[in-house]
Amino acid sequence: MEPTLRHPPTVTEPAPARAVRVAPGRRRRRPSGQAPPLPRALHTSGRWWLAATGVVMVLWIVVLSNLPTRLVVLDADTAVIQKLAELRTGMLTDVMLAIHALGSRWTIRALFWATVVILLVFRRFRHLFVFIGAILVLIAVNALLVWGFARPRPYGVEIIGDWTGFAHPSSPVAVLTATLMGMLYSLAPQGRIRQAGKVVIGVVVAMLSVALMYLAVNSVTDVLIGVIIGVTIPLVAFRMLAPNEVFPITYRRGGSAAHLDIGGRRGEAIHHALEDQLGVQVLEVKPFGLSGSAGSTPMRVRVKGDPDTWLFAKLYAGSHLRADRWYKLGRTLLYGRLEDEKPFNTVRRLVQQEDYALRLMFGAGVRSPEPFGVVEITPEREYIVVTEFFDGAVEIGEAEVDEAIIDDGLRIIRRLWDAGLAHRDVKPANLLVRDGRVHMIDVFFAEVRPSPWRQAVDLANMMLVLATRSSAQQVYERAKLQFRDDEIAEAFAATRGITMPSQLRRMMREQGRDLHAEFLRLLPERPEPIAVQHWSVRRIGLTIGVLLVAVFAGLLVFGYFRSAGLL
């Protein structure tokens, strides 16, 4: 797309012809009542598990509340334990005492904290929080049931193992089962490994259960109910809060926690949604540029055309919305109100902003990807923004940068200024070079009628990026052809440290060049720096509030971990 050849679309003008030649397919409107491409049915199995366990527990409470039925249960339990006690021998007792250690606090602590460390190392925070939450909920529910049932240890037999408190449900069995299940669902990828893990857990829990009964620490129904709640709580937690379809466990390199799996059911849904909603014929969908993206799941879509061509697509989900919120909160706390740090409320609004920014840039004649629209995958939860793909383009950090490229890059900023826009994320990864022209991508942060400071930062960052592949002197000389001296001075007064994207700072550091200082030396007058930190009552209040919440939450978690025996 040539900026000089395009004009902002008007009502009377036809829409600009597509640069990409895509063979049209058949668009299909989803009728009312028909399921979306990826229906949100992921909670169903978890709810069934929970409901089934709830029914079992209620029935069990009814059975134990009634004296005749309770006596039947106690009698049966006692008979089994007494039979097992008759099998006791010295050696077998030693073996059972050793197995009994599987349910000890130290075993649980070792397993729990090892899992926490592994999840932290792999930055799988979703699974980490679900794991910790599930174990803490399990311990709380188990404690409630133990207190509620208040059932003593088995009657009429010598108890030869260690125990603490009432017997029903069996705490060692419940906590060990839940910890192992949590480990399985947070560490083992779905498939054969997980299936094999279930068998191993079954064997381990069975061994512990037999040992507890042999030692007369627990009776049959104690361990059975312990297993039921130990399985149910983590299973339901992971199925509801970290379903494999959305948060698959992989140990591939090069991705990040922000990236969703685009294979399986979701892959099929993406395929059908693109065809139905955009009217293209999809041939292939592949992840693309994962290492350069932390706020969405980027992908490349091959569509039928003349010849077949690629489209670029970004999948946004609730996790990205939350990441955006935390990012903006962090910036507000660290720097005050840099600009437009208001978080989005819904995923739909987030993709609307991206699509709007794309259309705005494209309409303003900035050489940016042509928008193809938004595709719905799961209503209010997952959407895809589709754009033109700059096939054959290279990142500016790897391209030859001559005077023509420098002029072209600076012209983009000039055009943004003239159109009253700011890109707000000018960095090497967002500037591509193709056919001797600079293209600007990732316009998500674009802002309409930004402050002069924000526009000045865009100019300075563009000059710095261009200088990393040439020289500050050369870029400065070319910039003077399009910008006044005072505008350039304002740009470098506004830009330093945090206003430069981290990728740009890293490149300059690797090159051992302080380009910012070099530009300042070239200016006729050294400008007064423009303050970046903005202090306000809101920022101070927010900072104090966040600190208080963090301290309170920390104390709460610490106290709870201690009382739960995990510390």
Binding site: L74, P152, G156
Partner: protein
């Protein structure tokens, strides 16, 4: 769903009398009391916590407990902990909950002078068939009293560790002696046999 399920479960648990029918209690009060080391609930000594304490120290012929009839509003029970070999609970005074005024420990043997370092002397016992020893560790008039009472019986020992803060020392000591009592193990075992119509027994048959 879980948000609705858990309170429902708690309500159901609280509403049901899971304890023995013979203890007579049907309301939430007796439900809670049955989880505490109380001497009896409406005449029945088969209190789950007492049974658990008996299982913790299988040799103990006496079980320490709180006589609810003498438990005044100034005192409350806390820190109930039972494991194999040991049972413990505390009594706190209303105006001094941060400090356990009395910690009651049931073990198989006494540990004279292990926790405190005063002189242990035998005194006349207020419990039939149980020897009583007393130890005064520290007296700071008007400020603090530290000491211990040991009850020694066949198969076990109960220690009352005393720590009273404030000017009053004689009155709380009197309260403790009144509030705390003993239930013979045999009474608990008999209650279990009776409630289960002879099917269950507290202890294994002799020789097993």
């Amino acid at each position: 769903m879980r948000r609705r399920l858990l309170p429902a479960l708690a309500l159901l648990l609280a509403g049901c009398t899971i304890g023995p029918a013979g203890q007579g209690g049907r309301g939430p009060e007796s439900f809670e009391q049955s989880r505490l080391p109380v001497c009896e609930i409406r005449g029945n000594v088969r209190v789950p916590m007492l049974v658990l304490m008996a299982q913790a120290v299988p040799t103990a012929t006496q079980l320490p407990c709180v006589d609810l009839n003498n438990l005044t509003a100034e005192w409350s029970l806390s820190d109930v902990f039972v494991r194999n070999g040991r049972a413990r609970f505390a009594l706190d005074r209303f105006h001094d909950r941060a400090n356990h005024a009395v910690v009651v420990v049931l073990e198989r043997t006494c540990r004279f002078g292990q926790v405190t370092s005063g002189k242990v002397t035998r005194v006349p016992s207020d419990q039939a068939g149980i020897q009583r020893y007393q130890e005064v560790t520290e007296i700071r008039p008007g400020q603090e009293f530290r000491g211990a009472i040991y009850y020694l019986f066949r198969g076990g020992c109960v220690t009352y560790r005393l720590h009273f803060l404030g000017g009053e020392q004689a009155r709380p000591l009197g309260d403790v002696v009144l509030m705390l009592d003993f239930v013979p193990r045999e009474r608990v075992a008999a209650a279990i046999r009776q409630d289960s119509k002879g099917k269950l027994s507290l202890d294994p048959p002799v020789g097993r």
